[in-house]
Symmetry: C2
Subunit: 471 residues, 2 copies
């Protein structure tokens, strides 16, 4: 809620807030059933005393505009509305009826709080201080625009960028041509396109927990079933009814566990799923963040065209670019490109131009080298904090790269209550149950986002809360 | 198909092409069932004689790699493949089974040919020469990046851009706050989000033909039914079973007809649908292109929160920006933002930054004024050509702005055959049946894209083809 308050006005703050709230309801911006922010939050957002907010809300309640529901908050009332206005549309009911499932509430809260001043202990992105801002600015300012490049993009994406990505992928052992590459607005969009473009309803998405994919709703919203494999790919019993599906994996620096599969494990996985004729989605967005050498991508041995490979610049260069890519057989890429055209007519040309120029410049390699060193230092620093606070109540693996430590408490104390408690203290957590439901032992810690003092303070607050729960 | 041929190599062109095609099949880039481009196209793309292509294809056919289907083209064969390779995945079948419908074939062809050298007589975008390339470059180079703005965006979009859009919308009579604005990757994405976020399956989308919405598949893919109203909103018989749905309209400079609704018509429309409690999607992406004053947006009188308003910079500043917006009641915007986060984590930060800076600068107004003058000149020029060639076989309305003339031939000659015939002659048409199925009288002509000489030549070629059909 944003209101420009005029503190030098003849009109009192009460009247200014009252009028603006009434406007919102009158203009249909707050239809009946809308939940208002809490009093505390409103006071904070508007920079006024909480008592002023209480006065305004009481007045609006007295007039029948708002109603309180015990323990749940303040809502725009239904009754007064309908008599006053032509026919307010009942959005609330409509929203509930929509096809796409909402994000999990914990994730909605995370999305909301990630834009606020808070210590983010689990965030899966680079700290602003680790982004190559100056270098990107330099590249940006060197770009001269061609009228043709700022029109709609080709369905598969700008050719110069697809060329640059093809060259870039050689480092992963992948030989491909620009025709087999689709530029997407981040790897997440690739999953969306795959779910709507390549799979019939009631397909099964196989994966090994813990996995990033459990925190997403997109496959379920498209009518797919998630099926987690408890102990590796071997134990899947394949039946005719499961003919359609795919296997999702992050073989390098898994989100959230940080695991890196060996070359032999990759080979087995490839053989297993290819024999079952079930395609593999290889999510490889963290590969450039490994602290030492890693095996080639599964895609590099894919002679059967069975692997859909996903990459991105979001984890390494800038999430705001919204540039990722899919590598797949040409007819698959054509199909996904056709759907992307129906979704959003292609990725931003400016982002594509910037990404192509960036990848073709020496900036990228220099930046990556520096970034890996920085991440390594942050990992070491964070491990020292964990050793100090949690050495006898939790375990973890030494990070091999990327952003995450998959911290395991001996006791199942990572609950929504812990999440909310830390939120109150100004610390945002990513509980393990987002990636492995019913798991209350794990936390996904990120050493990539918070500053070092924030890491120190956040982990200290976490330790205090955990201590209070265990003693 | 891109192949780097080395003309100074010891290896013949035949061998180079042969090996590269084999590689494609072997690496799974061309799985069984893939249709190859035509011989003519391959020869053109690779810059070799057609006879070389024929030799290579014959060789690969003889070896069982490829197979011809009479009248349909050359395909990667199924048989040889399966014996040679582990287990090629049958993508073709999978693609057919996918949930999302493919684009209409005419539209796929349009998307494909729009990236090629061809006279585009129907394209719904500004000619590269009309884009404010230099001014955008200037703004781009003036931008200094802040590490925080190049991270992931807030769910609703960058605050500075939402502020700029709120100010911008005052010109349309719309008073709203940044909280009720969602930044999307073009207005098309807004429709996608609405279809998946606000409507249950089997909802009905009402519209009056001809309409841009008939050329889209996104609602049908989400299980919605399109229902066109023949003579205005009045004739809808409302029953309980049609409770969920929405009414889609482009009240200003309709795509494709160019119509502008009067203030009274807007008011009636608003009352009608609001009484039925069916929300209105007001697609207003062309409003700044009107040659003279237009009535305020329907949204400006929406006290009931019943209108979802769509705007965009694609038609006025740069399609490549991929920046549009939705204005709606706050809970609706929150819901759509949540789904957008699940789709692609928000629009490109660079595009958002550029758009915010652009809208806040005097460039926008200066550019729009110039652009309207240019479009007016192009409209006059095009009308003169129509008068010359078609005065006794077709009719049309004088354009009031935007891009289009909705040309109506007395005879129903606008068929797919005409479309393909003109394609052969190097002219890309947008047949009326894309926007009004079974209508073979109309063409959507665009005076905005082709250069003046192209318009002249294209319309001349069209006239010749039409003449051949009618005499």
């Amino acid at each position: 809620m944003e209101i420009q308050l005029d503190r030098h006005s003849q009109t009192t703050l009460f009247e200014q807030i009252y009028t603006r709230m009434l406007d919102r309801m009158y203009q249909g911006e707050w239809p009946p059933g809308t939940k208002l922010p809490s009093q505390r939050k409103l006071a904070e957002q508007l920079g006024v005393n909480r008592s002023t907010i209480i006065d305004v809300l009481d007045e609006l309640k007295a007039e029948g505009w708002l109603e309180s529901k015990t323990g749940s908050g303040t809502y725009v009332a239904h009754n007064s509305w309908q008599t006053l206005f032509p026919r307010q549309y009942h959005w609330k009911e409509r929203i509930r009826a929509g096809i796409h499932q909402p994000n999990l509430q914990t994730i909605q809260l995370i999305n909301e709080y990630e834009t606020k001043e808070i210590i983010r202990l689990g965030t899966g992105e680079l700290s602003p201080s680790l982004l190559p801002t100056k270098q990107l600015e330099e590249v940006l300012q060197s770009i001269s625009l061609d009228p043709r490049t700022i029109g709609y993009s080709e369905p598969k994406g700008h050719k110069a960028l697809r060329h640059a990505v093809a060259v870039h992928l050689q480092k992963r052992g992948i030989q491909t041509s620009p025709d087999c590459i689709l530029i997407v607005s981040g790897a997440l969009q690739a999953l969306q396109l795959i779910s709507l473009g390549l799979l019939p309803q009631h397909s099964t998405i196989y994966y090994e927990a813990p996995s990033y994919i459990e925190s997403l709703h997109l496959f379920q919203s498209a009518g797919m079933r998630l099926s987690r494999l408890r102990s590796g790919a071997e134990n899947i019993t394949y039946s005719k009814s499961q003919k359609h599906g795919l296997f999702y994996t992050i073989p390098t620096l898994n989100n959230p566990s940080g695991t890196i599969l060996t070359e032999a494990e990759r080979h087995d996985l490839y053989q297993h799923w290819t024999n079952l004729q079930i395609p593999i989605v290889e999510d490889d967005v963290y590969n450039e963040l490994a602290f030492s050498a890693i095996p080639p991508a599964i895609k590099s041995v894919d002679t059967a065209g069975n692997v859909l490979y996903l990459g991105s610049l979001s984890k390494t260069v800038s999430p705001g670019l919204r540039i990722g890519w899919v590598v797949a057989p040409e007819p698959v890429v054509d199909r996904l490109a056709d759907i992307k055209m129906q979704f959003d007519y292609g990725a931003s040309s400016f982002s594509q131009l910037l990404a192509a120029t960036w990848l073709a410049s020496p900036h990228h390699e220099t930046h990556m080298q520096q970034l890996r060193e920085n991440l390594q230092q942050r990992a070491t620093f964070t491990e020292a904090l964990l050793a100090k606070h949690f050495h006898n109540i939790a375990v973890w693996q030494k990070p091999k790269g990327g952003f995450y430590i998959w911290l395991r408490f001996h006791q199942p104390l990572v609950t929504k209550a812990l999440f909310l408690k830390l939120l109150q203290k100004g610390v945002l957590l990513h509980p393990g149950y987002l990636y492995d439901r019913d798991n209350h032992h794990h936390l996904r810690l990120s050493f990539a986002y918070a500053s070092l003092p924030e890491l120190e303070k956040g982990i200290d607050l976490l330790a205090q809360a955990v201590k209070a729960m265990t003693t």
